[in-house]
Symmetry: C2
Subunit: 294 residues, 2 copies
C-alpha cells in the first residue's frame, strides 16, 4: 500500500507558472491528496484543470482554506494583500501558508497586517525559478528541481512549521535556503530586480526608435541573451519593482555611478580603466559556478 | 577532378576565434589552397597549426601578402593599424584585404591612412558571430553558418572586389549585408557595444562588494543570461569601446535618460509608467524573430 501523502489538501491562489508548478511537483512526488485552485481568469483555471494541475476550481476561499494543509499564494505580489485579507479569518489551526513572491519585506508586512496573530502560520518563500514564460501552460512538475527556494522565516514561526513548509518545497525538488526578509530583498534587488530593469530599459530604448527594424535586424546572440528577461511579465515586474523600490533604487544609483566611471573613461580615452573593469567582471563571471557556458 | 579552390592563398593575421573560423570554414568548403597565419602568441600559432587551422606559420608578412588572394586582419581592432602599416607596401595587385573588426569607421580611417591608394583593395567586414570564448581552440568551421556578416564597402572599391570578398564570407556560410561604416557603427553601438558595457558594469559592481559571494550564490538564470557577455575578452572590448566611443557615448547617454525615467517612476511609485515601459519592451522582444526562446 502506498504511503499517504504528506499534504492532504493544498490550496493554490494563482495557478500559473509558480503555483501550477508547485502543484504539479507535489503531485508528481505523490505528496498531495487534492489541489484546489483559485485565480482571476476563468480561462487559466479551466486550463489548469484540463492540464491536471488542479483537481477542483475553488468557489469559496474561506471554506477551502479552513481545512487545507498548505496554502500557496502565487499571485503577483501586488495582489497578495487582498488575498491575505480575504482568507485571514478562515485559516484553519493546522493550515500553513506560504507564498511565491519575488519580494519579501512587503509580503511580510502585508501578512502581519492581515493575518494578525496567525502570521505564525505564514512562512514566506521565494522560489528562484523565474522564466520569461508565464501562465498555467508554462507550469512544469520539474520547474523547481535543483533550483533554490529562499525561505524568510519570521520570529513568530515555530520550528515545526518552518520545517513543514521547507518539506513541501523540498518535495518539489528545490534546494531550500534561509535569509531574513531584508537580506533577501537586498540580494535580489542586486542580482535579479536591477538586471530586469536594465534589460527592459534597453529594449524599450531601441523599440521606440524610427530605425528599430534595422537595429533588431543586426542584433545578435549577445543581445538575445542580455534581453531575454525583457520578455518577462510586465505586471509581475511592475509589482516587484514597486514592492522592492527602496532596495532597487539604491542598486540603480550604485549602478549609475558605475556607468559614470565608464562614461568618464570613454570620454577621456582611458583604456586602462575600461580594461580593468572588464577584466574584473570577466574573472568574476567565469568563476561563477552557475554561470558556466553550456 | 575536383574544381580548384577560389582562393589559392589566404593570409590570416590573428588565428583566434574569428580568423581561425574563417580559415577552417574556407578549408571545409574546399575553397582555399593554403592558409598562412600570423599572430602575437607563439602558443596560439602552434595550436592553430596543430588544429589544422593554418598550414604554415608566416615569418615575413610582406613576403606572404605579396602573392596572397585574400588577407584577413582578425586582430583586436586596436592592433589593426600597425598590421596595416606593416603590410601596406607589399600588397600584391591581385590581393584583397578584409577584416573582422567589430567597429568600422576607425578601421576604415586606419586603412585610408596606411594603404593610401591601395585602400581600393580593402573591403571592410564585420562578422556578427561573437562568442564569449576566444582563441584558436574556440575556432569552428561552422561559426559563420547562417550568421550575418556586414560589409561596409568604400567608394574606392570596385564592384568585382566587393563581390570577391563577399564570396569568401559566403563560402563560410554567412549571410552578407552591406551598410556604410557610419551606419554600421551607430547600429552596433546600440545593439552590441552598449549591452556589453552594461553587462560588464553590472558584474563588476557586484564582484567588488564584500558580500559578492552571497550575491553570486543567489543569482539565477536571468542573471546568467544577462551577464553572459561580461565573460567576453577585456582587451577586445576595450578596443571596441574606444574605437566606437563617439557612438557609444551617445547610446550610453540616451540609455541613462531612459534609466532616469524609470528612476523617477520608482521614486514616485508610478506603476503605470513602469508597466508601460516593460510592456513595450516585452512586445518588441517577443516579436523579434531572432530572439525566440529555444
Amino acid at each position: 500500500m502506498a504511503a499517504s501523502p504528506e499534504f492532504g489538501k493544498v490550496v493554490v491562489f494563482g495557478v500559473g507558472l509558480i503555483g501550477g508548478s508547485f502543484a504539479l511537483a507535489l503531485k508528481a512526488a505523490g505528496q498531495v491528496g487534492e489541489v484546489v485552485g483559485f485565480g482571476r481568469s476563468v480561462g487559466t483555471l479551466t486550463q489548469a484543470l484540463q492540464l491536471g494541475i488542479i483537481d477542483r476550481v475553488g468557489a469559496n476561499p474561506g471554506a477551502e482554506v479552513a481545512d487545507a494543509d498548505i496554502v500557496l499564494i502565487a499571485s503577483p505580489v501586488g495582489r497578495m494583500p487582498e488575498i491575505m485579507a480575504r482568507i485571514a479569518p478562515y485559516i484553519g489551526e493546522q493550515t500553513l501558508v506560504t507564498d511565491g513572491g519575488s519580494t519579501k519585506e512587503d509580503v511580510v508586512a502585508a501578512a502581519r497586517e492581515h493575518f494578525g496573530a496567525r502570521v505564525a502560520q505564514f512562512v514566506p518563500a521565494h522560489p528562484i525559478a523565474g522564466a520569461e514564460n508565464s501562465g498555467a501552460a508554462a507550469a512544469r512538475a520539474d520547474l523547481y528541481r535543483e533550483k533554490k527556494v529562499v525561505l524568510t522565516p519570521l520570529p513568530e514561526n515555530v520550528v515545526l512549521n518552518v520545517a513543514r513548509v521547507r518539506s513541501a518545497w523540498e518535495w518539489c525538488g528545490a534546494q531550500v535556503h534561509e535569509l531574513s526578509p531584508s537580506e533577501h530583498d537586498g540580494v535580489f534587488a542586486a542580482v535579479s530586480h536591477l538586471p530586469h530593469l536594465l534589460s527592459f530599459a534597453l529594449v524599450h530604448d531601441l523599440a521606440v526608435r524610427d530605425n528599430s527594424d534595422v537595429l533588431f535586424r543586426f542584433a545578435a546572440s549577445g543581445f538575445r541573451d542580455f534581453t531575454r528577461i525583457a520578455a518577462s511579465h510586465p505586471e509581475m515586474w511592475r509589482d516587484i519593482c514597486l514592492a522592492n523600490r527602496v532596495a532597487l533604487l539604491a542598486e540603480l544609483d550604485r549602478y549609475c555611478i558605475e556607468l559614470d566611471v565608464l562614461r568618464g573613461a570613454l570620454l577621456s580615452g582611458d583604456g586602462a580603466t575600461l580594461e580593468k573593469v572588464f577584466d574584473v567582471a570577466r574573472a568574476a563571471r567565469r568563476s561563477w559556478p552557475a554561470g558556466q557556458v553550456k
